[in-house]
Symmetry: C2
Subunit: 244 residues, 2 copies
C-alpha cells in the first residue's frame, strides 16, 4: 500500500485513449481542420470498445481540441472556424454586434528572452524569441496595441511580410504556417494609464485608463507557446467574461 496518496494510481482507459489522441495531435498526425478517423476505426486501432473512444473524444471536444459534426465526422478544431475566434478576443462593442477586426503588424524581430519572457514561456533565459508588435483595429478604429513573444523554435523564419500578407487572425496564421494550435490561455488583467506611445497609437489622451491584458497561451500538452501584453481601449468597448 503506497504511503503518499497524492498520485491517483489509477488512470481510466478512456483517459489513456485521450492522451494517445492528444499525442497524435501534437505529432501533427491530423492537422487543424482535418477529419480524424471514425470512432470505430480508432476503437480498432487502440483495441478498446467504441464507447470508450467515444468518451475520450467527448472530453476532448469539451476542451475544444476536437469538433464533432453529426453525420460527417470528428475534426481537429481550428481558429479558422469563426466560432472559435471570439473565445480568445474578448473585447466587444458596448452596443451592437460582433465587430470586424483587422490586425496591422508593425514590427517583427528575433531577440533573446529576458527574465520576464523566459519565465512566462518556460524557456531558458537568453533563448531566441520572436518579438512582434501590432495594432488591432475593430471596425477600423485602433482598439488594442499588442507586444507578442514567441519561442523562435516553434515559429521558424516568421517574417513581417508574412504577417502583413495575411488577412486572417494571428492564431489562424500560426496554424496554417507552423501547425501550432493555441488551445487555451491565461490572462492577467490590470487597469493602467496610457503612456505617450500607446496613447498615440490608440488615438487617445495620455493618461486615459486602459486595460493591460497579459496572456500566456498554450498548445497541445500545456506547452506555453506565446506570451503577450495588450493595452485595450475601453472607451466604447468592454472586456466580456462569463463566470461558470
Amino acid at each position: 500500500m503506497s504511503s503518499h496518496a497524492s498520485v491517483p494510481a489509477f488512470r481510466p482507459l478512456y483517459r489513456q485513449i485521450q492522451d494517445l489522441i492528444v499525442q497524435a495531435l501534437a505529432d501533427k498526425e491530423w492537422l487543424p481542420g482535418e477529419m480524424i478517423p471514425s470512432e470505430m476505426d480508432l476503437a480498432a486501432r487502440f483495441e478498446v470498445s467504441q464507447g470508450t473512444v467515444r468518451r475520450a473524444i467527448d472530453e476532448l471536444a469539451a476542451e475544444n481540441l476536437l469538433v464533432r459534426r453529426q453525420g460527417k465526422g470528428t475534426f481537429v478544431a481550428t481558429h479558422a472556424d469563426p466560432r472559435a475566434f471570439f473565445r480568445f478576443l474578448r473585447l466587444v462593442p458596448d452596443e451592437g454586434g460582433v465587430p470586424r477586426s483587422r490586425s496591422e503588424p508593425l514590427e517583427c524581430q528575433t531577440l533573446r528572452a529576458g527574465q520576464e519572457v523566459a519565465k512566462a514561456l518556460s524557456i531558458p533565459y537568453g533563448d531566441p524569441v520572436i518579438q512582434l508588435r501590432r495594432i488591432l483595429r475593430l471596425d477600423s478604429k485602433p482598439m488594442v496595441v499588442d507586444e507578442i513573444y514567441l519561442p523562435a523554435d516553434l515559429f521558424p523564419d516568421l517574417t513581417l511580410d508574412q504577417l502583413k500578407a495575411s488577412d486572417r487572425s494571428l492564431y489562424t496564421l500560426f496554424e496554417s504556417l507552423f501547425g501550432v494550435r493555441m488551445v487555451r490561455a491565461e490572462e492577467k488583467i490590470r487597469a493602467v494609464a496610457a503612456d505617450p506611445v500607446a496613447a498615440q497609437l490608440l488615438d487617445l489622451e495620455v493618461g486615459t485608463p486602459l486595460l493591460s491584458v497579459e496572456r500566456t497561451a498554450f498548445t497541445y500538452g500545456d506547452r506555453a507557446a506565446e506570451w503577450r501584453r495588450g493595452l485595450y481601449s475601453t472607451v466604447n468597448h468592454h472586456y466580456f467574461n462569463e463566470l461558470g
Copy 2:
C-alpha cells in the same frame, strides 16, 4: 416536414431529465449542500434507465449545479465550498497565494429600480430592489468597492445587520438565508479613473486607474438575481481569467 428548421424539434431524454432536476432545484426540493437521491432512485422516479440519469447528472455537474462525490452521493453545489468561492472572485495577488477576504457592508436600503437596473435584472421599471454598498478587503486592505442591486422579492427583509453579522461570502449568505443560489454570471470589464469617493474608500489617489466590473448573476433557470458594479484596485492584484 417543418419548413423553418431553427427549432431542434428533438429533445433527448437525458435533457428532459436534466430539466426536471433543475426544476426540482429551483423548487428548493433539495437545498444547497444537501444530497440528492441516488441515480437508481432517480431512474425509478423518472422511469428511465440509470445510464440516462447518469448522463443528465454529468452535464449538471459540468455546469456546477451538482457535485459528485464517489462513494458518498451527489450533492447540490454550494458557495460554502471554498473551491466554488474563487470562481466568482477573480482578483488575486500578483505574488503569493489565495488572500483572506472580508466583506464590510456599508449600506442596505430598498428603492425602486431605475432604467439601468431594471434592464439588467429583467424586471419592470420601478419595481422594488435592494441596494447594497460594501467594501471588500483582501488580506485586510480595501481592494474592491461594490454597489449591488437585488430584486426585492427574492430577498425579503434583508437588513444591514444580517450582512454585518455574517463572516461568510455574500453568495453563501444568499443561499442559507433565502435559498437563492447564484449559478453563473456575466461580467463587463472596463478601465476607469478613480473618482474621489472610490479613491477615499480604496485609499488611493484620485485618478488612479481602476477596473470597473459590471456583473449580472443568474440563478436556476437563467433568472437574473443580482446586478453589481465593482471598482477593483489593481495596484498589487490582478483579475485572473482562463480562456478555454
